[in-house]
Symmetry: C2
Amino acid sequence: MKIALDAMGGDFGPRVNVEGALLAARQGGMSVVLVGDQKKIQKELHKTRFSSQTIEIVHASENIEMHERATESLRSKKESSMRVALELLKNHEVDAVVSAGHTGAFMASALMVLKRLPGIERPAIAGCIPTLKGSCVMLDLGANVECRASHLVQFAVMGALYSKIVEKKENPVVGLLSNGEEESKGTEVLRQAHQILKTKNLNYVGFIESKDMLKGKVDVVVCDGFIGNIFLKTAEGLVSAIFSMMRQEFQKRFFTKLAAGLFYFIFKDTLYSFGRRLDYAEYGSAPLLGLNGVVQVCHGRSSSRAIKNALLTAQKSVESHLLESLKGALESVSVV
Amino acid sequence: MKIALDAMGGDFGPRVNVEGALLAARQGGMSVVLVGDQKKIQKELHKTRFSSQTIEIVHASENIEMHERATESLRSKKESSMRVALELLKNHEVDAVVSAGHTGAFMASALMVLKRLPGIERPAIAGCIPTLKGSCVMLDLGANVECRASHLVQFAVMGALYSKIVEKKENPVVGLLSNGEEESKGTEVLRQAHQILKTKNLNYVGFIESKDMLKGKVDVVVCDGFIGNIFLKTAEGLVSAIFSMMRQEFQKRFFTKLAAGLFYFIFKDTLYSFGRRLDYAEYGSAPLLGLNGVVQVCHGRSSSRAIKNALLTAQKSVESHLLESLKGALESVSVV
């Protein structure tokens, strides 16, 4: 098993990527191919002890910065680290690619290099959202800001397959995120998607509100990438706001700082665990579904631990033959 | 001061409306005109002690049910309780209208009967969202599922005026809710609105993410009604999910049920207060801005306490001359 890692991606550059790669190689027994500026990568590697049997370097002369426009960087930077990594995957030199770089540019490059799965117009970022009953797959979490009805239908099909293959759910319940359950609710695009989804061979239950999704009423929830992003950031912001409020509350209510400290510690644990599970970034990474290749995106501010988790998840996806199952299932299903 | 209340509105019908009216009349010293089925209202009134000096009934023969389509009910039910209440306001027989009925139908009726303020194409529901620094005005919370750029610009202008007049903020900071701060983010409509807002005489800071909004970085946040609804329901769902998780956590961690009960009680307090503040419904109501009249919408599942609060808020809006100030300011501002 060999996985390519975009060593230049993310807010912290090669340092956390190299650290993450070493952790993953040690824990998962995989080989990691670090793609990027050879000198910079070697400089980081020399700070550590590593085995040349599990770590390789493939040089890439360019790097896409976070502020660049995806489309422009795609044209102007043909030797970017993410592009070179994706070419390795296309040429079967690695089994999967992981990147914490510019999500838009990564998605556009992946689309161009790997191409799409049959019947899929747009790949989507699929995240695992904690609910009161366990978790549900939510997609798209930010790859496509504006979507047509057909895109949403394809996300639903892919989400259901992902839920079956990876989460081992027999007959996953699928819902479309909306502002109410009634058929008359939603935007024009959502109502169109709803009508198409009713005709598909899916366990589709119609529109669902985000509060019911958090209660665990569905296994797969579909939305466009703009809404998915708003959902994630609202959740993240709320968890942190409630956390701050609680801390204040406890410092107010208890007589000793010691007691406050103790309870603060317990809160931190519970709230952070929920918050972490909500943030696909910190948690590790999220698969980009719909591409002809196993690809994991990480948040820009990923830690080395998050990079390690992303590499391990990619390894698991390859081992469980996710791509082959998706391909096979999509070929036998009419997607639109 | 006389306020008309749609006595048939809401999930619980005349009962909670009558109770809410009596509470408000007692607490605020206003007169409440209960509009709806006279017999049903009288039946509820007879269960209570009330003074005919503060409670009046105006009969309306029809009622718009929650499941009806707004546009159809508007055409077919000309004698609906909300419509009759709005006519009273139009004819200056009352100073404001409150309804917990079908929001879409109420908004459409209000638009038709009261008309819009100068320069405003669509009224918006404005809510007060708690932040770590206090609160911010968010609009639209659900009146307009799909918006054009000009609508969003008008919401920004109204939101800033509301923040000045009601929240007494000198020079309110205005942001546009998006999936990132960079100009390249957002949907096509958001980017258009952003370009127009930059030219307006507003303290406009550009795109803002929901997590920064919750930190209190802006005083006014603008979005379409679909996003506003998703935001509210996500917040509501999360608060309740975290609450459930904490309860479980505490029953697990503490040795005695007594201790768990005590801490549960403290949590409940803090979390519920945050949750309540997030839910415009439970909290009381939200003004429908942009109409030529003071109008408060309540959530369908409003309690009598929420109805009371809505009536008191409407009273305060009338007393603070919100409508006259908005009118004057809009006339002197080029809105689009």
